[in-house]
């Protein structure tokens, strides 16, 4: 385990309510009650790329709708690249990668991972086709390929809309994926987590727009960057402060550092997006900042959860409080 994670258990750090953390808290030789997730860096990377893909395809559809070819091209390609990467990460993290297809044996609403798999199964090809459509101009005007060349943009638009339609689900289901565990700091965060992920998905996608699209076409991306960053920062803030003891892991160690950096980059990126609207370089930089912020957010959230699972304090204390309150409730006259 990491030293950062252990720090979480020191009394000084007991945070909001040290009294409860100390008094009467017992454990079995300080060992964790929960098993920390066995997931490695692939999973936060998957969360990030999935969000990036989702946001990009939304932006692409918008660009398509409002006639911003450059932005459309950039975001469609980014979407394909990101969804490809996220699929790779998802498979690479499996204990038995060769058995990835077993995911497709069943469709289980109680399993966010199963739901996600099917979302990915729809989104992936759609986003892919949309991206391939960008190759249309490169094709010869005549012959079979010419026919394809004329058909592609239409198909691209259609599949682009489809992808954009599925995208929000792709961006937010991963929040449920984390929250639907016994990991205290993930589960307790379930009301906010989807907004964090949704926000950072939009922000990172707009980042792509700012990076790749000319100033003339990146207006929506700027607005979206501000909205997305705002969502992300606001929701993260509630997670880092609003959950009592189980907020603690998000404020400490590696998780804390990453989330603080993410917040700074988001704010900077959003600001840059607004202020740098006439400067290609500033726009590009703020775009990069937003993308980095999104990645750091996912890794920070992931670390925080793992830390909360590794220290029995985060498992025992809230459950003890729950029991005490229940007991008190029983005795209080109604």
């Amino acid at each position: 385990m990491t030293a950062e994670a252990t720090n979480a258990a020191t009394p000084e750090a007991a945070g909001a309510r040290p009294d409860v953390a100390d008094r009467g808290l017992r454990s079995y030789y300080g060992r964790p009650i929960l098993k920390a997730p066995v997931w490695r860096h692939d999973i936060p990377a998957y969360l990030f790329t999935g969000g990036l893909a989702a946001g990009s395809s939304i932006l692409a559809a918008g660009a398509d709708l409002t006639g911003r070819p450059a932005m459309r091209r950039a975001t469609r390609l980014a979407s394909l690249a990101a969804v490809g990467a996220s699929t790779y990460f998802l498979i690479h993290d499996l204990g038995r990668p060769k058995r990835f297809h077993h995911m497709l044996r069943v469709a289980k609403p109680t399993s966010p991972m199963s739901v996600g798999t099917w979302i990915l199964a729809v989104f992936g090809p759609a986003a892919g086709l949309a991206a391939v459509a960008e190759a249309a101009p490169l094709l010869p005007r005549h012959g079979v390929l010419g026919l394809a060349g004329r058909a592609l943009p239409v198909a691209g638009t259609a599949s682009g809309y489809l992808a954009a339609g599925v995208a929000p689900a792709l961006a937010t289901y991963t929040a449920v994926l984390l929250a639907d565990t016994a990991v205290p700091s993930w589960h307790e965060a379930y009301p906010q987590l989807p907004f964090v992920f949704a926000g950072s998905a939009l922000a990172s996608a707009s980042g792509v727009g700012l990076l790749a699209a000319p100033l003339s076409q990146s207006g929506p991306a700027r607005r979206l960057a501000v909205i997305g960053a705002a969502m992300e920062v606001a929701a993260s803030h509630r997670i880092e402060t609003g959950m009592g003891l189980v907020s603690e892991p998000y404020t400490q160690g590696r998780a804390g550092r990453r989330l603080r950096a993410a917040r700074a980059l988001s704010v900077a990126g959003a600001a840059g997006a607004v202020l740098g609207r006439r400067n290609r370089l500033v726009s590009a930089l703020s775009g990069a900042a937003l993308i980095a912020a999104a990645a750091l957010t996912r890794f920070g959230i992931f670390d925080g959860g793992v830390a909360s699972a590794k220290d029995p304090k985060y498992t025992v204390t809230p459950q003890r409080q729950r029991l005490e309150q229940a007991a008190a409730g029983d005795h209080s006259p109604t």
Partner: protein, 349 residues
């Protein structure tokens, strides 16, 4: 599939899983008050289920050198040496002997750092660092900061008057609402006709989702194998009317196997007897169909708070909140679309 109480509350799991005429739900009642800590259950389980050894490592956790339930240990006997207020026994063992303060906090502090490569991921992770382990081990009796000095060197605590040595054979709880089963994306985890929860090793693809989902930290991934492993309640034995290996091997009937209803009845009686005999700290754990996981298929009689044995005091199946989670995700999704719309419409306005 989502019927009444399918995600939370009292339920007959086999029925809910679609078994038309399922046999009685089978389970374990582990009575820790008569456990002698012989670990025959650990060995019998490994012998029958061909579970790999967990490796040679002296953990310094009393006589516990297994550490935790892992992919390579499906039964785990916990040992807790406890200085407790006098009067628990008919006569305190150390009355009038020149004892100093307990070594429990300091040994726990060291034990917290004895990680062991169990051949599983994450393995029996040390978890809490020494200071917190020491504080936790000192327990409610002790307020303020513990010392993590040499055992026997702490000052200021009253001498040991009485000592308890708790032993408890832990195992998969086979929850009524099993989070591991709910979140499994491949269907590898399934509910048997006996109401137990089993991993189909030919299906599991090692996605690892079940592991953080378990509120008890039971199921675990085996290193080099990649799949998730845990107690099957000897599905291959009970199908033939045999007793699970651990219960078969238990010399004092601390581990009792049978129809869950009978076991629950027996357990209630046992607790009453113990309380009557002055064992005021005796309590059942995991027997209540109205608890956070709808009751455990494997429940326990404990002599102290659950967390002392490394059990969560009030576990709740995470999927209880799943509908809410999807709702929140839905809101967030719509917000995304709205935001996008605003972003694009904004310009044309």
């Amino acid at each position: 599939m989502v019927g009444e109480n399918s995600l939370y509350g009292p339920l007959d799991p086999a029925l809910d899983a679609g078994y038309a005429d399922a046999p009685a739900r089978m389970g374990f009642f582990t009575d820790t008050s008569i456990c002698i800590g012989c670990k025959a259950c650990e060995v019998a389980c490994k012998e029958w289920n061909l579970v790999p050894d967990h490796g040679l490592s002296l953990l310094g956790m009393s006589f516990d050198n297994t550490g935790a339930l892992t992919a390579n240990s499906w039964r785990h006997v916990a040992f807790i040496e406890q200085p407790i207020p006098a009067g628990q026994r008919q006569s305190p063992p150390f009355r009038d002997t020149p004892t100093g303060p307990s070594s429990e906090p300091a040994t726990a502090a060291l034990a917290a750092t004895t990680a062991i490569d169990t051949g599983t991921i994450p393995g029996a992770d040390p978890g809490g660092e020494p200071e917190s382990a020491a504080r936790m081990a000192a327990g409610p009796a002790m307020l303020g900061m513990p010392t993590s000095g040499l055992p026997g060197r702490q000052q200021g605590r009253e001498d040991r008057k009485d000592l308890r040595w708790l032993m408890m054979s832990d195992v998969c709880k086979h929850c009524t609402h099993a989070a591991c089963l709910d979140v499994c994306p491949t269907g590898a985890l399934f509910r048997t006709e006996f109401g137990t929860v089993v991993v189909q090793q030919d299906i599991c693809n090692g996605c690892g989702y079940c592991i953080p989902a378990c509120p008890y930290g039971v199921i675990d991934q085996r290193k080099g194998d990649g799949r998730a492993w845990k107690c099957t309640l000897c599905y291959d034995r009970i199908g033939d009317g045999l007793t699970p290996a651990c219960a078969q091997a238990c010399p004092t009937q601390s581990i009792q196997y049978g129809p869950l209803d009978e076991l629950r009845e027996r357990a209630e009686g046992r607790v009453a007897d113990l309380r009557a005999a002055g064992q005021t700290t005796a309590r059942l754990y995991g027997h209540d169909p109205n608890d956070g996981v709808g009751g455990d298929g494997a429940f326990f009689l404990l002599l102290d708070e659950p967390e002392v044995y490394g059990l969560p005091p009030d576990p709740v199946v995470t999927t209880r909140d799943l509908p809410d989670m999807w709702k929140r995700a839905g809101f967030a999704a719509l917000t995304m679309l709205a935001a996008a719309a605003v972003a694009f419409v904004g310009r044309s306005a």
